[in-house]
């Protein structure tokens, strides 16, 4: 089930964290993976190497997603690799968490350009390649903070709420050919929030607040992305699926 046999999927932000786990899970599902990264060349190459040991093909592509032209070039290069894309996962994202009154233009711009604009331009650039693909679909990465509020990181929360609505808008506009869905992780232990989960008190607070009693791991997020990209999810589009251990239930 949820076989991605011989599909070609571009994963942005795939060198680390959730993007890395997704890239590996898609390879386990039978996909060849275009591994996008920004600066972590060695990490991206190691993801690609791991994909090859799973018997699939992988190639790395670098770009700073805050730059629209760089994103377009990167997606074109990934599309030209196999002449098509069957899937796109937009996992590149950052978190900056100053208090609201200290948010400067830099934090705002960097967050919105990476998380929101970077996603938008990546999808736009991928559409022509997806139209040549088989059962094409897109999965964006939102956050539980796209629909539930927390104190701190307002630009991040704003960017993720916008990604959710972008997902729904594009699901409608790109139908019937291309499906667009999103997963909204809860608190997941990655580099993006290392300071948070390495703080023992905050670590406990999140674990207690989460119905399932623990932080998420990147590997908890990846299988849902694989399901959403699979043919078995052919009638699922515009969905934002929370993968958060039930943290909003409390």
């Amino acid at each position: 089930m949820f076989d991605l046999g011989d599909s070609v999927i571009l994963v942005t932000g795939a060198s680390r964290g959730i993007g890395r786990a997704i890239a590996l899970e898609l390879a386990r599902g039978g996909a060849d993976v275009a591994v996008h990264y920004h600066t972590a060349t060695a990490a991206a190459e190691s993801v690609a190497a791991e994909i090859r040991t799973l018997g699939r093909e992988a190639r790395t592509f670098s770009a700073d997603v805050v730059d629209r032209e760089r994103v377009q070039e990167m997606v074109r290069a990934a599309g030209e690799w196999k002449g098509r894309l069957d899937g796109l996962v937009t996992s590149a994202g950052i978190y900056r968490g100053p208090p609201f009154e200290e948010v400067g233009l830099e934090e705002w711009d960097e967050t919105l350009r990476t998380n929101l604009a970077g996603t938008f331009w990546a999808i736009q650039a991928a559409v022509p390649w997806l139209r040549r693909g088989r059962h094409p679909s897109v999965v964006t990465i939102s956050s539980v903070l796209g629909s539930h509020a927390a104190i701190g990181g307002a630009p991040y929360q704003t960017s993720k709420a916008a990604v959710e609505q972008m997902t729904r808008a594009l699901a409608l506009e790109l139908a019937p050919d291309i499906r667009v869905n999103s997963v909204a992780p809860g608190f997941v232990r990655t580099d993006i929030n290392r300071a948070a989960h390495e703080d023992p008190e905050f670590h406990r607070t999140v674990a207690r607040a989460t119905a399932l009693g623990r932080w998420g791991e990147p590997e908890d997020i990846a299988p849902a992305v694989r399901y959403l990209l699979s043919r078995e999810a052919d009638w699922v589009t515009g969905l934002v699926l929370g993968i958060d251990g039930g943290i909003p239930l409390r």
Binding site: Y227, T237, G238, G246
Partner: protein, 259 residues
């Protein structure tokens, strides 16, 4: 417990498993290696056919006619299914009925019947299985409907009951965490006996397709795959969620080709 059974095969329990979404779910889980217990209400022939199809996958089937609106019959079915098949790893609370059309004409009896089968029946099915689900760290999946997310002036009781299902999934998810995960699935227009009246009428069938961005009716297998995902280890961090499987139907007030 049946001593003939191989120890260790997973077991799914499905209410309303002889037809439609329930049947497709039973067969998909059977193909994926689950033994299947299912209830049905009327129609022994489709139930027997579903059981044979499960057995053709090399799996065990246990099935029984019950009124899913009755807590006592539901609990007895769950207990006997566990005794027969040894364990319960997933419950798919699927049994459902619709009522007559029109917001004004719902009698108190019809209202109660729709709520009893669609909503209460799900609660009692899950509740009866909780000790088993805790043992297996299993999952409950409640079949709701996009009728529970949207305005349905022609089917107010059905829609309200399905909205109740979505709420029930959230409350039970918190009540049963961390051992048992509980999620809902909200299907859109799926081709089953329940919707045959519309599907078989060309104008109604086409009007419904115009409302679906993906441009086709759903098949029971579309919903079954979502249930399989939610029951799987891959969904180990998913609880209290509603997985909408509707071809994009509920995204907008008027879909269609607006361009």
């Amino acid at each position: 417990m049946n001593p003939e059974r191989a120890v260790g095969s997973k077991v799914v329990l499905i209410t309303g498993g002889s037809r439609g979404i329930g049947r497709a779910t039973a067969l998909l889980f059977a193909r994926e290696g689950y033994d299947v217990a299912f209830s049905f209400h009327r129609g022994t022939d489709p139930a027997r056919a579903t059981a044979h199809a499960i057995e053709a996958c090399g799996r065990h089937a246990f099935y029984r006619p019950i009124d899913a609106a009755r807590a006592d019959e539901t609990a007895a079915f769950v207990t006997d299914a566990r005794d027969e098949l040894g364990r319960i790893d997933a419950v798919v609370a699927n049994a459902g009925i619709t009522g007559s059309l029109g917001w004004e004409g719902v009698s108190p009896e019809e209202w109660r019947s729709i709520f009893a089968t669609n909503l209460e029946g799900q609660y009692f099915a899950v509740r009866a299985a909780v000790p088993d689900l805790k043992r297996t760290r299993g999952a409950a999946i409640l079949v709701a409907s996009i009728a529970g997310l949207t305005a349905q002036p022609e089917e107010v009781a059905y829609a309200a009951a399905k909205a109740g299902t979505i709420s029930l999934a959230r409350s039970l998810a918190l009540a049963l965490a961390p051992e048992v995960r509980v999620n809902a699935i909200a299907p859109g227009w799926v081709r089953t006996d329940m919707t045959a009246g519309l599907y078989d009428e060309p104008q109604a069938r086409a009007a419904i397709v115009r409302g679906i961005p993906r441009g086709r009716w759903g098949e029971p297998e579309d919903v079954a795959a979502a249930a399989l995902f939610l029951a799987s280890d891959g969904a180990r961090f998913v609880t209290g969620e509603t997985l909408v499987v509707d071809g994009g139907n509920s995204l907008s007030w008027r879909i269609g080709r607006q361009r």
